[in-house]
């Protein structure tokens, strides 16, 4: 039976953890608080060390509204800084990547080294009376941690350590990504008309494999597919046990050639890192995606593809080909996920649909919504409000 306006707007007759209020995707105030309380307090994938292989290489990125520099400093250590000049806040580096021993702010030419020291102030005599000097004008360093060469940053100096935060969340990938140094071969960004959480939800629930023509065939034809049990970790991370795919069912070649270390033919693994990073491994290639929220309904999705550093060209070509079959802007799956999140946002934008339901309970079998419920449980802790009732709150 269809529902009246009143029935449609009624709070779902479900436990609070089984649904979310759509305002968490659309409310500008909630968005601002997410940036401050959640994004700036959690560990964020910034880049992979193979993007800064040489001394003095750097990458810049935007995170939670801040521009960030990640560099391989002259002493070989990886460091991160806020990309803002100590003088009057100008953005120091504007290229996405480069190599420089000294960084000069283009505004009044103060300079910095790759360890964050201010190395010169233009006409320093003028500051003598006020006591401003280069010794006190270093950059704001940002904590970083690394796993499998993936560089994560955290803007909150008081947040849990990298090791505590991630705990065992990488365990399912240890033999695959920890065996040999990796290298990024694919990087692309896609602006989605959607909230960042909607994108990440597509990574956290397998119910939507029905969306994907290829997945319907290659994954769900296996009974074992439905039997796998999700694993949840502290701080909101999750993994899905390895499973076999049957690519032939979608008219594709089985992935028997050039598997990554630890991967058996046509095997598939997934790890979800709170709050917005997803690692997928399909036998031969690795995809990692993460998001940069721009506004409540605009999200920059950033996707990388990985192979093994220094591998022969023919092996790399297989990885690139297999990566592109599903992922990247011309893959089979990526545009379908993009399409899905945009058709959700279209209805959320003006409040046409008040709630989202995550009420699948299947004893952690793979189409259980447990990963999303864990995600929103954590979200509630950071935000000081439950996702099912985010505006009726006294902080």
């Amino acid at each position: 039976m269809s529902r009246t306006a009143q029935q449609w707007m009624e709070t779902p007759a479900l436990p609070g953890s089984d649904y979310v209020d759509s305002q968490i995707y659309t409310d500008p105030h909630i968005f601002e608080e997410e940036q401050k309380l959640l994004k700036r307090a959690t560990w964020k994938l910034a880049c992979h060390e193979s993007e800064i292989p040489e001394l003095y290489d750097y990458r810049t990125l935007d995170h939670a509204g801040f521009s960030i520099i990640v560099t391989r400093s002259g002493d070989g250590n990886i460091r991160a800084f806020i990309n803002a000049c100590s003088h009057r806040s100008a953005t120091i580096l504007s290229e996405p990547a480069g190599n420089a021993k000294q960084w000069m702010c283009p505004f009044h030419n103060w300079t910095y080294d790759t360890e964050g020291n201010c190395t010169s102030i233009t006409l320093p005599e003028g500051y003598e009376e006020a006591g401003v000097c280069k010794e006190k004008a270093g950059l704001r360093e940002v904590r970083n941690g690394m796993k499998f060469g993936l560089v994560f940053i955290n803007l909150d100096d008081d947040a849990p350590s990298f090791d505590e935060f991630f705990g065992d969340a990488f365990e399912t990938l240890e033999d695959v990504m920890g065996a040999e140094p990796l290298e990024v071969f694919h990087h692309h960004k896609a602006m989605m008309n959607a909230n960042w959480k909607t994108w990440h939800e597509t990574n956290m629930e397998f119910y939507h494999e029905f969306l994907h023509y290829v997945n319907r065939n290659i994954a769900m034809s296996h009974k074992s597919y439905f039997e796998r049990r999700l694993k949840l970790y502290p701080y909101g991370h999750g993994t899905v046990p390895p499973m076999q795919q049957t690519y032939e069912r979608a008219g594709l070649k089985e992935r028997t050639d050039k598997p990554l270390p630890g991967m058996s033919p046509s095997e598939f693994r997934i790890a979800l890192l709170y709050p917005d990073t997803c690692i997928l491994v399909r036998t031969t290639a690795i995809r990692i995606d993460t998001t940069t929220p721009i506004s409540p309904n605009l999200t920059l999705v950033e996707q990388r593809g990985f192979g093994i550093k220094g591998e022969p060209e023919d092996v790399r070509n297989v990885r690139v080909r297999d990566h592109n079959q599903f992922w990247g802007p011309f893959g089979r799956n990526f545009p379908e996920d993009g399409n899905a999140v945009e058709i959700v946002e279209k209805n959320l934008r003006n409040g046409a649909a008040p709630y989202g339901i995550f009420a699948r309970h299947e004893d952690l079998k793979c189409m259980d919504d447990a990963l999303i419920r864990t995600f929103y449980d954590e979200w509630g802790k950071y935000m000081g409000r439950p996702a099912h009732n985010p505006t009726n709150v006294t902080l």
Binding site: H187, H188, M192, G251
Partner: protein
Amino acid sequence: MSVSDDDIRNMLHETFLCLDAEDYDAYLELCGPEFRYRITAYSPELRKDQVWLDHDREGMTELFGNIQFHVRLPGKFFRHGHVYRIERDGNGSAKALTSMVLHYTEPEGDSRVFALCRYHDDIDLSTGTPLLASREVRLETRQLGTGSHIPM
């Protein structure tokens, strides 16, 4: 029979029109048996070239055949291409450089620029009819929104 630059240009224009019309059988008829199609882009983030799609004729046939099964962008693409340069090598083949703008029109009718790119085409002239031997789509635009199942 010799192939004129106009013949080559007309064949290239036909490939644009076939893609606009999503008439992939007709598109493949304009391609040689060893046809190779690539989409590439330079990444300033990685400071490297990237390959985003690379298929032979068989791979393209399979990709075209699957478009109907995908949840895809519901609107239409219009290509606006200008063939800047045709260079013959004297051995029965030629190279052509086309500047291409892809516009995307939503089902509601509003259009936007989807991507800027250049086609680097190799053309086989040996049969007397110009055939597309390979096409590299070199993307200038790297942010393509949700992406596309339809080749550029």
